[in-house]
Symmetry: C2
Subunit: 342 residues, 2 copies
DNA sequence: TTGTGGTGTGCACACGTGTGCGCGTTCGGA
DNA sequence: TCCGAACGCGCACACGTGTGCACACCACAA
């Protein structure tokens, strides 16, 4: 930290007390115009840069938001953070970012570090914390918002913003039924049990509501210790239920892997089998074929979280937010009749 | 910022001065074992969380690194930031992130904000600052490292980490020549004139060195006001030089657009034309066909930048770093003979 | 002349932490 | 017994900023 000019330095040069300098620069009313003018000019000339750290200490607020993210390089979370930042920028907040892979200990450590830095609030994306950790965090008193957390919780300082996973599954089911598919599969992931269950439930129950028999809905799940994309590849290879003409995947990563798996197997997508993903990753547009998917409003997710966190910091209360995903039709899903003709 | 327990509170409860508490917690030597034990226990029991803001003020260093990034959602920069964070995490630093789109004013504003926060150093990724702004920043004295900046500069506190763009272009040329291509094109972008020039120069001069005539090297450049991916699409559509069998693109975004453009035009990649990109975006793996590209070591870029910045902060001097890209062969490029046979 | 009210400025403290210096105590050796 | 050294701890200050209160000054009216 380079030694920089302080208001004391300016005060000395201007022949006044640091109090006057502080007031002049912050636009206090009862300062004579000439003194204010001289101080402002002097500050500019001396290259004064206010010390936000000292201000934070004095004001008891840091104007900083802590964000805990599982993987910095994940484009999905990148867009969420973009949404968070957009709101922060308007309110003059800064973003303190900490990575913490999918590990409870690491996440807790990251949160503790942010609390040491006295952030005004914390946003945790993709949290996998258990009930005991959450209780512990609640005691710390920091306002927190969890985005797409796998658990729900009841507390005054802890809130969540989630996507409606059940609705997402239902939308996928509606889409495939509308296309005429009669025998379908769900490719799940055990790594995020909460959302996986809801997506599959929304999918299956809606299919049943449309009159499909449960015996015509096949389910598979990849191993927990491999990457989703590899899991998708494996499940596509392993799928040997005759007559299955459509697959709904837990997320786009699995779907992209499935596309590769079906291609390697010689099964044409979408002519032989339709594939639907979830998330709308940036790369879903550029896969072959471009992926039909249930799109999450990623930036909105971040914006909403930040907005609600600001409310929490302000001392007011907010409700948990649930955002609805939307169907994005591309080329990896097609009507059954057309598929059979091909 | 919630009111939290301070060392004064602990001191009061322990019946000692805050000095003793501070020393006990920081592992000072000349503190009796029993007092230290009691204080540590008390601190734990009272839920003491050190105030990093006060520590920063006292120690005159914030243990915080500022990062200015053009677009939070850009997966390329996501990986770079991941590299930065990896090094930061080992040294206990935190990351203060500010977004600033491709705009000199915004970038300067972001840097000023970080300086107010008294970050120990700043990393600017994808800077587009002009010479006058850079001179201005130099005067501010903060150690800074620029990643893939479009300009070079000479200063003690400013350093750069860049990819060897010329070498990247040369590698692409070597690859296409080795595949037997005799007439090729370069799809450029005017938005980043510095790196665009170097990539094209490395590409063209190497081709010439391999004996190719300049008249057999076709160049195009997209408009500055559209997205790269759309530019790639347009250039692919517009390409009507007969006999061109390979295209090297300024980056993967243009290459992905070109893939779509050629597909729409009915030109098969790679059978009729080979396409090579630059960057190795995550989605380059999942395009159709998977994209051959000149891969940038993105995480290494971030790690190196952070490493050099730490050296700069430590008061030592470092040289500018230049990293070499590598060829990543996928399916969008193929030998000429095979292409003609197909 | 005195009282009143407004204006401009400074003193002193607060925020939470770390540390140089000094003081009192204890301990060991001569 | 005495003295120096080591030990254990607190005072007071520093870091840079903001603010409640008090004070001096001026203008104006009574």
């Amino acid at each position: 930290m380079v030694r920089r000019v302080s208001i004391m330095d300016i005060a000395e040069r201007a022949g006044v007390s640091h109090t006057t300098v502080s007031r002049a620069l912050r636009g206090h009313t009862r300062i004579s115009a000439v003194v204010r003018g001289r101080i402002i000019e002097l500050a500019d000339q001396m290259g004064y840069v206010p010390n936000a750290i000292a201000q934070s200490l004095q004001q008891q607020q840091s104007c900083t938001i802590g964000v805990v993210i599982s993987d910095m390089a994940d484009p999905f979370w990148g867009e969420v953070v973009k949404g968070i930042d957009a709101v922060c920028a308007t309110s003059g907040q800064s973003l303190l970012l900490h990575a913490a892979a999918h590990d409870e200990k690491l996440q807790i450590t990251a949160i503790r570090r942010l609390q040491r830095r006295r952030v005004d609030g914390i946003i945790v994306v993709d949290s996998q914390l258990g009930p005991s950790e959450i209780r512990q965090l609640e005691a710390s008193g920091s306002p927190m918002v969890f985005i797409n957390s796998q658990r729900t919780f009841e507390s005054t300082s802890l809130r969540s913003v989630t996507i409606d996973n059940y609705a997402g599954g239902a939308i996928a089911a509606d889409h495939l039924v509308a296309l005429g598919h009669q025998k379908v599969a769900y490719f799940g992931s055990p790594k995020r049990p909460g959302s996986n269950l809801k997506r599959s439930l929304g999918f299956i129950e809606t299919l049943v509501a449309h009159g499909l028999q449960r015996s015509r809905i096949f389910q598979d799940e990849c191993a927990a210790d491999i990457a989703d994309i590899d899991g998708g590849y494996t499940m596509a290879q392993a799928l040997n239920e005759p007559g299955v003409t459509a697959v709904f995947c837990y997320n786009d990563a699995i779907a992209l892997g499935a596309l590769a798996g079906f291609r390697a197997k010689g099964v044409a997508v979408p002519h032989k089998i339709s594939v639907v993903g979830f998330d709308d990753l940036a790369m879903a547009r550029y896969s072959w074929p471009p992926l039909t998917t249930i799109a999450q409003p990623k930036e909105l997710l971040g914006q909403t979280a930040m907005h609600n966190l600001a409310t929490l910091i302000g001392g007011a209360s907010v409700a948990d937010a649930v955002l609805v995903p939307s169907l994005l039709i591309r080329d990896s899903s097609t009507p059954l009749s057309k598929g059979l003709r091909a």
